[in-house]
């Protein structure tokens, strides 16, 4: 089986804050990690490879330092890594990102399955997976938590609001993977060493030959017009003292607000 896993390098979102005066992101010094959900996509791929053989290729689009995320993925067991990077790809929204990533996947041969995380924890849109699937003209399911290979198709369990669904889906297909699916295995020392030395090809504008209108800022229909800090609560009331008295006071206040 040839499996492609798309991984995004994201800032550890715990540590990103916004300067309340300038409304700029304070990203300096914030460590980068593999998007947590992409770890579940990677583990799903590795388990399929363990069971059925084949190859796991990780792809990441981003600035040159996204290579680090790819090396980490190699140390966990991925076989190949490809970096998609070019100044011209910068500023892409999910439309342009989906298009660009799909061009890279089209260059790979005999892909049986393309996996994504459920969503990225920075952009948080969960839109890239279905977008790539459309550009590749393959069927897609979101929120996958389990997969089984059944001949020419896959049997996929997807999480819904109040339960789950089981689908039979043709090969090749694209899935976005939820956290409940699994937990990423530890990297092995041997693979860590190999990952350090691995050659990671970088595909840019020349390699992918994209339609210039469809990439980067120009290819992005959405524009971020402003960013700002979330509003802070005013008028809050802090109660302390005897539990019974606090609760009586709380109930009174909730009634005053007409919520009880």
């Amino acid at each position: 089986m040839n499996i492609v896993v798309c991984i995004k390098q994201v800032p550890d979102s715990d540590k990103v804050t916004i300067d309340r005066e300038t409304n700029r992101l304070n990203r300096a010094g914030v460590p980068s990690i593999i998007n947590p959900f992409d770890e579940n996509a990677l583990e799903m791929a590795l388990q399929l490879k363990d069971a059925h053989g084949g190859k796991v290729t990780v792809i990441s689009m981003g600035p040159p330092q996204a290579e680090e995320a790819l090396r980490t993925a190699l140390s966990h067991g991925a076989d190949d890594a490809i970096l998609i990077s070019d100044r011209k790809f910068g500023g892409a929204d999910t439309w342009a990102t989906s298009y660009t990533i799909s061009l890279a996947i089209k260059k790979l041969e005999n892909v049986d399955l393309v996996l994504f995380g459920k969503q990225a924890i920075d952009g948080d849109t969960a839109q890239v997976g279905p977008g790539v699937a459309h550009f590749l003209d393959i069927p897609t399911l979101t929120y996958a938590k389990a997969i089984e290979v059944t001949g020419d198709t896959y049997k996929v369990t997807k999480v819904t609001e109040d339960g789950y669904e089981v689908w039979d889906i043709d090969k090749p297909c694209a899935l976005t993977v939820v956290k409940e699916a699994n937990q990423l295995r530890m990297p092995s020392l041997k693979k860590k060493m190999a990952a350090k030395k691995a050659e990671i090809p970088c595909w840019g504008f020349d390699e992918l030959q994209p339609d210039e209108e469809k990439i980067g800022l120009a290819g992005s229909p959405t524009k971020v017009s402003k960013v700002f800090a979330p509003p802070v609560k005013l008028n809050k009331e802090i109660l302390s003292g005897e539990p019974a008295e606090m609760v009586t006071e709380l109930i009174k206040k909730l009634k005053e607000r007409n919520v009880l």
Partner: protein
Amino acid sequence: MSTTKELWVFAEQRDGKIAGVVNELLSEGQILCEKSGYTLCAVLPSDNGAVLCQELYNFGAKKVYTIDDPKLKDYQNDYYSRAVAQLINEKKPEIVLYGATTIGRSLAPTVAVMVDAGLTADCTQLDFDVEAGNLLQTRPAFGGNIMATIICPDNRPQMATVRSNVFKKTKISENEAGEQVPYAVDLSGVPERMRRLESVHEADNTIDLNAAQFIVSGGRGVGKPENFKIIYDLAAELGAAVGASRATVDAGWISHHHQVGQTGKTVCPVVYVACGISGAIQHLAGMQSSDVIVAVNKDPDAPIFDVADFGLIGDLHEIVPEFQKQIAAAKN
């Protein structure tokens, strides 16, 4: 020729029932239509749309495009995206809104790339810039650390997804007038690439966090799995759903269905009671738009108090049972 400008809401149905978020979007859509002068419409793919139109009129839709086909009875990404994209390409609406449900989050991004539209995810606020003619779409990103306002100045339609419970729904009346506009799509050319084999509903009222008016949530401060009983007892007394922090889910104290936060559910009840939850940014991302937040924590410096309307400093093992007792007493 003047184009009639329209704002559409994707009328998601499951088993012939309109999703709650659709009516919320229609209610918000009415406000946007007052500002923009657009006509509020719904798009309803199903196997028999006629029977569902009245409900959509009652929440403000002036026009309902029904797309009937046996293949559209249940959600299937290929069929639905083809049907909706074809209708968009033909009628050219200005704005299309979708619920950020598991269905909307597959359909909207697929349609967006099919019709070359921008798509803004999980908006918590929508407004209309009359001068520029743009929809102003505000959403949290970076797990709630920042808010961003997104516009799509050059492409139409402008599309957005919105989670359940972000907007309030207001029914206008029980018998609003509206127009059904049947639209035919030919799906015979769409290859059948996926088939639903099974759909399982795990009914449990304490998990339906999206529909709940009241949520009582427990965090690591609950101490051990057995202690969740006091959380459940208070929830039962209030008719509330039970939520949880990721720390308790990861520890195996409660199932992941209950998890609230960036990697769990986003909830917006009337009252959210956080018990023994510190208030990590990833937890706040899932609950800070609740109408009223009550926090119970023994640490006066816990960040949860920053977002709370009412903070109770003390031991939850005393406060939570007391809360239940007083509510029970008030009922009698």
